[in-house]
């Protein structure tokens, strides 16, 4: 199994989720994160003083999938999340050794369906 982690722009979440559902992926975990990268941060003001906030709001998706569909999922995410502008984010793939569905105790690929 593979774990796919994607950091994307928040407003793209709906589209990415739809793209994944379309290729048959029905489980994922989402969290709000802040990203630091090439994308320039905002300047903010407080009583006349300026400061730069360089950690920008992003959404992180985590999904564990059978090896067989990992590449398909990566491509789906990449396509759906793309705006072409800097800061679109990254997708990372890493190995997972075991998965368990808590409700049933099912393991491995069966836990993911």
């Amino acid at each position: 199994m593979k774990k796919i982690e994607a950091v994307i722009k928040p407003f793209k979440l709906d589209e990415v989720k739809a793209a994944l559902v379309e290729i048959g992926i029905h489980g994922m975990t989402v969290s709000e994160v802040r990203g630091f990268g090439r994308q320039k941060g905002h300047t903010e003001l407080y009583r006349g003083a300026e400061y730069v906030v360089d950690l920008l709001p992003k959404v992180k998706l985590e999904l564990v999938v059978p090896d067989s569909i990992a590449e398909k999922a990566v491509v789906a995410i990449k396509d759906a999340a793309k705006t072409g502008h800097i800061g679109d984010g990254k997708v990372f793939v890493s190995p997972v050794e075991e998965a368990v569905r808590i409700r049933t105790g099912e393991r491995s690929d069966a836990a993911l369906q």
């Binding site: 928040p10 407003f11 979440l13 989402v30 709000e32 709001p57 959404v59």
Partner: protein, 467 residues
């Protein structure tokens, strides 16, 4: 707010002149001629009572809603707001239809206990109808429009049942709550208001003192809260997992607005802008300050730290305790009442609750029930009636204890009956899954907070062009 001279209020305004210091014969003659005219409202007194009425609404919306809403978990805050808002709506309608009549009509269904429907729908009350303000000893009668008295009392009728919700927060069915407070208003609040504040009420006639509602508002809601929370049962997880306030700042805003609004409640109960109102105001503030300082000191001694929730709680406790007494005591009495209530309520909230094991979610019994009781008793200890020859301290204390005992028993018994009937008819609690999910989603299909840029994306379809 005692309507002690209510039967007099249709007498002539000419008597006004009698008490005035520069009354000369000729003016008296003029006054005599006008003897049969209807009394007219004084703009100054009216001005303060209108403003005070607005302040008392603000105590509930948003004051109490915030005070309680901040203390519950974030999944239940909207339910608290709904209990306050829809509760206000229901009471506001019932009040003009029947509630005011039951509490303040001149004739009665059960002598000494409750009025009748003679003023239902505000029958007979016009813009020109007036109501007499609380007369100070020797002062001449003065008046405000009865319509604003109707509203001033309406705001009391709105906040009193809302106080109870603190005891049943986080688990009561919304429909059951609305049904409960409707019945409670008619069968508990209106009769008690009649007994204590109507010139024909038995407690009033006996000479019991309750300037702004220690019995009618705080003991009634506090003891009912205890009864209802016991019938309802504890929250799931109560005593095992802590349920910390989701937003102490909201609670503090609420406490601040309650404090400010309570000046309308207490000083407004003079029904006029005069020395009595000023005195009630001063006692209200002083007792509250004393309660806040005392609670902070108790916390410091008991746990080593003074807390913000403690400050908010003690402010409310001080305001509760001075409510029945504020028109009857001096500044010294106010200091003692304020300090005393912190001792009593802190003890109740920390030790009594865990000893007895009831789940009064936000401590309505400890703060309002016992705070109101203490205030009513203290009125007998430190206060004096606004009459020419007030009874002795001992005699007044006995009167107060009678009232207190009756109010406690009456509130508990009636509430238990109403609650048990409703439990049988419609059920009182949400299911355990709904309790876990939170009442905001389960009962109102809403979420209080949607932070984060991505929040709006967490949604699938939007039928009917939602936007």
């Amino acid at each position: 707010m005692l309507a002690r001279l209510e039967p007099l209020r249709r007498r002539c305004a000419g008597l006004l002149a009698l008490g005035a210091s520069f009354a000369v014969p000729l003016l008296l003659a003029g006054a005599a001629r006008a003897e049969d005219a209807a009394p007219t409202a004084d703009p100054g007194h009216t001005a303060w009572v209108i403003a005070a009425t607005g302040l008392v609404l603000m105590m509930t919306l948003p004051g109490l809603a915030l005070f309680y809403g901040g203390l519950v978990r974030s999944k239940n805050v909207l339910n608290v707001f709904m209990q306050c808002f829809v509760g206000a709506g229901v009471v506001g309608v019932l009040w003009v239809l029947v509630g005011y009549s039951l509490a303040f009509s001149g004739s009665e269904l059960i002598p000494g206990f409750v009025g009748d429907f003679s003023k239902a729908g505000l029958a007979g009350i016009t813009k020109a109808t007036t109501w007499q303000i609380i007369p100070d000893v020797g002062a001449s009668p003065e008046f405000i429009p009865e319509l604003i008295f109707v509203m001033f009392q309406c705001m009391f009728a709105i906040i009193t049942p809302a106080l109870i919700l603190g005891a049943v927060a986080e688990r009561m069915k919304f429909s059951a709550y609305v049904a409960f407070i409707s019945l409670w208003l008619l069968f508990v609040y209106c009769p008690l208001a009649y007994m204590v504040w109507n010139a024909n009420g038995w407690i009033f006639k006996a000479g019991g003192l309750d300037f702004a509602g220690g019995l009618v508002v705080h003991m009634s809601s506090g003891f009912s809260a205890l009864a209802l929370s016991i019938v309802l049962g504890k929250r799931t997880g109560f005593g095992k997992e802590p349920m910390p306030p989701h937003s102490v700042p909201l609670c503090m805003i609420g406490a601040g607005l309650l404090w400010a609004g309570w000046f309308g409640f207490n000083a407004g109960s003079a029904l006029g802008a005069n020395g009595l109102a000023a005195s009630a105001f001063l006692n209200t503030n002083t007792a509250t300050c004393a309660a806040v300082v005392t609670w902070a000191l108790i916390e410091l001694l008991h746990r080593g730290k003074a807390t913000a929730v403690g400050a908010a709680t003690s402010a409310v406790a001080g305001l509760v305790a001075i409510t029945p007494a504020c028109g009857h005591v001096t500044v010294l009495g106010a200091l003692v009442i304020g300090a005393g209530v912190s001792l009593i309520s802190y003890t109740a909230v920390v030790f009594l609750k865990s000893a007895l094991g009831y789940d009064d979610s936000l401590d309505v019994f400890g703060v309002h029930g016992l705070g109101g009781l203490w205030g009513a008793v203290a009125t007998g200890l430190f206060g004096s009636a606004l009459v020419a020859e007030p009874p002795s301290m001992g005699a007044q204390l006995v009167l107060q204890l009678k009232g207190v005992a009756f109010a406690a028993v009456f509130a508990v018994a009636m509430t238990a009956i109403i609650a048990l009937v409703l439990k049988a008819v419609m059920g009182l609690r949400v299911g355990i899954e709904d309790e876990d999910l939170g009442l905001d989603l389960a009962e109102h299909s809403e979420t209080a907070y949607s932070f984060g840029t991505g929040a709006a994306s967490f949604v699938e379809r939007a039928p009917e062009g939602y936007g």
